[in-house]
């Protein structure tokens, strides 16, 4: 270990990971005057150079297909125009799956992590989501309630900016919203069809600002949020929290730093983080008073499990044995349909905000018996006159044989006449779904990797069946026909809402963290990503990651001030 150098400064807090959780912790702590070092396993981000917003496909000779025709032979990212992000496979950073299990683990190695490209869906959990066991006897209750988190939802929504409409629906609590953009024409049809089915179809709630705040310009409705937003009108932790926090003078960013292990002293407290400097392939240590793991749920669990010592033989903060357990992903199912009513409509600019301007929150929360499965799902919608890109017309050319003038006329006719629906539902934690250290495999830096075990249960399969029936009904009420439908429930991990692997709870025997996401076993260790989640409701996790991270950061700052950690 001769190459290990101890750097002199001791930071109040070392944060590992710069996504939604890490970014929020950095923002809150630096504002409170705390000295923070941020380790990011990927590189720095320069939005002005890295984002390809507003480019036309013909501005590159490969039109976005990739120089090696990646669009036609399997991609390794979300496409040439997408924001720098990540993928389910990263060279040199493998993971394994146990026999009989499938799981795909998405990682993002860049400042801001997945927030640079994520779907921006910002839904509060419902009050009942925090007490799932009390509600239906499945899973486990959270050690906190909606009332504990609500003030932090307020703070996060005010700071990052979320548009939406107040609806008074229990499954979709209202927040502090910017004015939402109106529905597109096909979305008006979807709303009318949903009304006939008694399904609420309301304004989406997305972390996109529609009036200027904190020096960020209002959305300019180019529909390209997924490419990264040069005006930072959509939330990303990199642009909205971390880069601005540099001005405080309290933040040190250490990019290309792959955390390997947490170093503890004789009292069992974390004193330093050992990491690989990827640029030199050497191991370094950074000293800290406290540490916040925000490396993503499974990466944080991996780091704890890899921090073994004689005092912590099962890994750090794991006397309960729950670290890595209770892994869940959101269920996913999608379908598209052709809507003849849209044929011949006046062509107009439907770019708006990237993603649907409307969505359907879970509507059978008080009629679960009618649904036929526990918990629920929400529905996201797609459609409109999108910028033509590689693959845009696949549906039409699969529906119609031939070539020549007739094909050209068909493409012209069908452009913008398809709608799509995607269901995103709650999985209940089960004993078959977890991650652990694979004893046989290490990554390119010698760090032991994760092995995944995963099984959907009949609850999730019944839910997806319900999605299929519902989407078909909506399409048919719109006068349309189903064009494409997913064969089966999504592959675990593909919805990229993996969480629950370092769960919180009141009992140290059955949870790793207390209600402030502080480790029961190690009082100067905190977790601020989706690992502490006790359940995975049908609301995308990011807003709740931010709210819990904000709450944890405030608590941590106060504990530092009091000298308790």
């Amino acid at each position: 270990m001769a190459q290990v150098r101890r750097s002199a400064p001791v930071y109040d807090v070392v944060v590992i990971g710069s996504g939604a959780g890490g970014g929020t912790v950095v923002q809150v702590l630096t504002k409170l005057g705390v000295n923070v070092a941020l380790l990011e396993a990927g590189g720095m981000l320069n939005p002005a150079k890295d984002f390809k917003e507003h480019m036309w496909p013909y501005q590159v000779p490969h039109r976005g297909a990739g120089e090696a025709a990646e669009s036609y032979f399997g991609r390794k990212d979300f496409g040439f125009f997408s924001a720098v992000n990540g993928w389910w496979e990263i060279e040199g950073e493998p993971y394994t799956t146990a026999p009989g299990s499938s799981f795909r683990w998405f990682r993002s190695r860049i400042l801001g992590g997945r927030t640079n490209h994520y779907g921006r869906i910002s839904l509060r959990f419902a009050d009942y989501d925090f007490k799932p066991y009390s509600r239906d006897g499945l899973g486990t209750d959270w050690p906190i309630s909606y009332e504990d988190v609500a003030p932090y939802y307020d703070k996060v929504e005010e700071f990052i900016g979320v548009f939406g409409s107040k609806e008074g629906i229990r499954s979709a609590p209202d927040g502090i919203f910017h004015t939402p953009p109106p529905p597109r024409a096909h979305e008006v049809l979807i709303q009318k069809a949903c009304a006939k089915l008694n399904i609420p179809c309301i304004s989406s709630r997305l972390s996109v600002i529609t009036r200027p705040i904190n020096g960020r310009a209002a959305c300019h409705y180019c529909g390209q949020c997924g490419r990264g937003c040069v005006t930072a009108s959509k939330y990303s932790s990199s642009q909205v929290q971390i880069l601005p926090a540099l001005k405080s003078g309290k933040l040190t960013i250490i990019p290309n730093a792959m955390a390997r292990e947490l170093i503890t002293n004789d009292e069992g407290l974390v004193t330093a983080v050992s990491y690989i400097d990827k640029t030199t392939r050497t191991e370094k240590q950074i000293r800290c008073r406290t540490v916040v793991l925000a490396a993503s749920a499974c990466e944080s669990a991996r780091l704890l499990l890899n921090s073994k010592s004689s005092r912590h033989p099962n890994g750090l903060a794991n006397s309960s044995g729950v670290v890595g357990r209770y892994l869940t992903d959101t269920t996913g199912y999608s379908m598209s349909g052709h809507i003849p009513a849209l044929v011949g409509m006046l062509k107009h600019d439907t770019d708006g905000v990237d993603g649907g301007h409307v969505y359907m929150p879970w509507w059978l929360w008080d009629k679960q018996k009618e649904a036929g499965f526990p918990r629920g799902y929400h529905i996201e919608v797609g459609g409109g006159y999108n910028m033509p890109s590689i693959g845009s017309f696949n549906r039409t050319i699969q529906r119609h044989e031939g070539y020549g003038a007739s094909l050209k006329a068909k493409i012209r006719e069908e452009y913008g006449t398809f709608v799509s629906f995607a269901g995103r539902g709650e999985m209940i934690p089960n004993e078959h779904s977890y991650c652990e250290i694979d004893p046989d495999v290490v990554d390119q830096w010698g760090i032991p990797v994760l092995r995944f075990h995963f099984k959907w249960s009949d609850y999730e399969r019944a839910q997806v069946k319900h999605m299929e029936q519902t989407f078909t009904e909506i399409i048919e009420i719109m006068g349309g026909t189903v064009v494409t439908k997913q064969k089966d429930i999504s592959v675990p991990g593909e919805i990229i809402h993996e969480l629950g692997t370092v769960r919180m709870g009141d009992d140290p025997k059955t949870s790793a963290l207390n209600k402030y996401c502080q480790a029961h076993d190690v009082k100067n260790l905190f977790v601020a990503d989706a690992a502490p989640f006790v359940s995975n409701p049908d609301k995308n996790p990011t807003l709740t990651i931010c709210a819990l991270a904000w709450r944890t950061a405030e608590y941590l700052a106060e504990e530092l001030r009091k000298g308790n950690v």
Binding site: Y58, Q59, A69, F73, P182, L189, P212, H220, A341, G479
Partner: protein, 198 residues
Amino acid sequence: MSEVTRRDWLTALGAAMLSGGISAEAAQHVHQAVAEAKKPAAGAYKPKVFTAHEYKTLQVLADLIIPADEVSKGAVEAGAPEFIDLLCSGNSQLALIYTGGLGWLDRESQKRFDAVFVEAKPDQQRALLDLLAYSKNAKPELAPGINFFNWARRMVVDAFYTSPIGIADVGYKGNKGMAKFEVPVEAIRYALKRSGLG
């Protein structure tokens, strides 16, 4: 509609920049990104992968798949052959699909019409493509040609509709930005009426 012109939008972005909304660097990026691409000089393209004959065959095939019509010009004008050649130059598997497919087309044309594909008469060319394009004509011995035709059809469509010609053809109106997002009332009324939901 309060759709703004690109000039209006860039002016708005400039104002946002002055008020500290975005950096000068970011604004510069926006200016570059929205700049129209220069059209490549016609006739100057030298194929990277294909022989002159193969490239000529590909051009004829591309314009048969997406020909000029009363609305817009065809696939060659939209740069489809260049696009396919470029991608083949970066992917040997794709290059094999095309060189093999173009060779198959010539041999089949020779057999049937005693002329390579580009020298066959237009109605002969279409007669051969009809065998590949419609499932009712599919025969096992045509499989290599059908596979190739499916590749060519898909990629010619992609190339055409990602060009300025194809984008204008389908009537995409966006990538301009708007000060405020609005939907033409006329469009909503039309769709509601036709759907029977209005």
